[in-house]
Symmetry: C2
Subunit: 343 residues, 2 copies
């Protein structure tokens, strides 16, 4: 491994790790910006803003940079997440710490990936600061961006904590997992993109915060519930990870908690035996997937998702700061994140 | 391990990891602030500012927060550093990932420590931003703080890269190691504290940057050279790490590079044999320490340190922005960082 080349290879990995995403968070932030701009009368017209005719407000270029900063931060978080979970694949390609091992040096790969995550986190703040300086409420925006990073790190700690909850207390596990979703996913997936878009367009900070929280928290939690369902549903599978990955890792998920709570004695015994083992085979994974369906855990997750999406939708409806056209835009932006579901 | 308690334990570890340091970087930043304030005529008097009678300029409270942010960031960097190096001890106590293992769960300890490092890095930016908002050049200061974090991460990548340089090219290794010192140590140990102090007191950004670089780069590099010497010198040993730790780890240091370049055939053969092995015993470590002395590598490091300190001192002397009293203060601040050396 040539010394001089390693920094370049880390730089190239930043691009590789950043590619293949759906840019959902950036798109949500941009739509939130357009919606708030329309509501404040900065838009081209008070009706029907769309991606084809964005309102020509203040500085959409700067808002685009801010939206990109969200994606760069996500890439940072995913790289660190994969280190912690020891995941070999991400978005169908080797995860950063695997790609940077260069001939199987795990310590080198882990160290370089940790630093790549740090570099991207720092860069995301730098880019966000520069963009925010050209938008409304730059100081508050910078705080929101940092508090988003803080929330994700806390969520990761809670996620590791949830792994230590014994399986004989599935109700506590379900609760803890939903709490993890709030901190680790909803924060940067929905709440912060909405809040930053609203703020940047000129909505007052308190209103931007409250609106983003009411709409974004249930949306973000349902997004993660749906993501967990994809792991056990061959039809919806497009995450670039192998089917049943969470099960194979023995991860303590909401699905597992629900299944344990709903299982009969025989089903519970099987689940505890499979999750109690140190590893899980392909047939174990298949059996757990069947048990998640037969216990009704999958159906319960779908009901949870529907309830959360109704809550998010109601928050949009009764919001007093957004115009009628803005609400339509935000509603379609939220629907884009949950393509398989009707609110 | 109770679920609810884990986040608290991570929080307590933040305090534990942060304790026991010498606060050299915070003190340097504060002195830089006082020196620049005096130079700009904001001080109480134009002569002899001292820690006992700090100039009552703008907002020394805010500057104190900014100085603390530097220490919080350092703690973050050390936690990540210990993960990468798999170091069990820091400042005489268990390193964060060891302390957070709770009964030997290495994955849990590593994951929690990674996130603790992230939380402290994010917190340091948040605290720095709030402090800078009350000081001069807040926007530039925020950039300097982030660029410091970037430099340290790049330095860590270069450090990992240097480990891959073959020992048959010691000249390249020495060069690469000094480059690592520039990025990984000098950046946040000397350059950024000086620049932030100068900036915050009102020095113009270009002048603050150039002054900090000229004074701080040689100071910071010599600081790391001295730190490496402590590892092989029982007299000066107070780092809370076992003597010869770098040697035991087989770390590719400037000392090793110098020793290899200066060694005769027999000495070189011994060094290559010891560093080529997968582990090093106590007697190996003792032999290498003797070789570092007998080859003259230790003396060469001392000469490097003296030359760098002269360079730093000359930069203070010829600086055109600092007052006479300010130069005296900066000179004593620099000397505080290198107690065993006369410039």
């Amino acid at each position: 491994m040539p010394y001089a080349g390693l920094l370049d290879k880390v730089r190239m990995q930043a691009l590789a790790s950043n590619s293949g995403g759906k840019r959902l968070r950036a798109l949500l932030a941009l739509d939130a910006y357009d919606a708030a701009a329309d509501s404040l009368g900065h838009g081209q017209s008070a009706s029907a803003p769309s991606a084809a005719t964005p309102p020509a407000t203040h500085n959409r270029e700067a808002m685009l940079d801010l939206a990109c900063a969200l994606e760069i931060y996500q890439t940072s978080a995913l790289i660190h997440d994969d280190i912690i979970d020891d995941s070999d694949l991400r978005r169908g390609a080797p995860s950063a710490h695997k790609a940077l091992e260069f001939g199987g040096d795990e310590r080198l790969g882990g160290g370089l990936a940790l630093m790549l995550g740090n570099l991207l986190a720092t860069a995301s703040v730098r880019i966000a600061d520069a963009a925010l300086a050209q938008l409304h409420s730059p100081g508050t925006g910078a705080q929101v961006f940092l508090d988003m990073q803080r929330a994700v790190s806390i969520g990761q700690v809670l996620d590791l904590s949830a792994e230590t909850i014994p399986l004989d207390d599935p109700q506590r596990l379900a609760q803890a997992s939903l709490e993890v979703f709030r901190w680790k996913t909803a924060s940067y997936t929905a709440i912060a993109p909405l809040e930053l878009g609203f703020l940047a367009a000129g909505l007052d900070p308190a209103g931007a915060h409250e609106s983003a929280l009411q709409i974004g928290e249930p949306l973000g939690i349902s997004f993660q519930l749906a993501d967990d369902l994809i792991d056990v549903d061959a039809n919806g599978h497009s995450s670039g990870k192998p089917l049943g990955g969470d099960i194979r890792e023995g991860k303590h998920t909401v699905l597992l908690a629900d299944a344990l709570q709903r299982a009969d004695a025989q089903q519970r015994e099987r689940l505890l035996a499979i999750y109690g083992a140190s590893t899980r085979s392909g047939s174990d994974v298949a059996e757990v997937i069947r048990l998640f369906a037969s216990t009704g855990a999958v159906a319960q997750s779908r009901r949870r998702i529907s309830a959360l999406l109704r809550k998010s939708s109601a928050a949009i409806e009764k919001n007093t700061l957004l115009s009628r056209a803005a609400k339509t835009l935000v509603r379609s932006a939220c629907a884009r994140m949950m393509p398989a579901y009707d609110a």
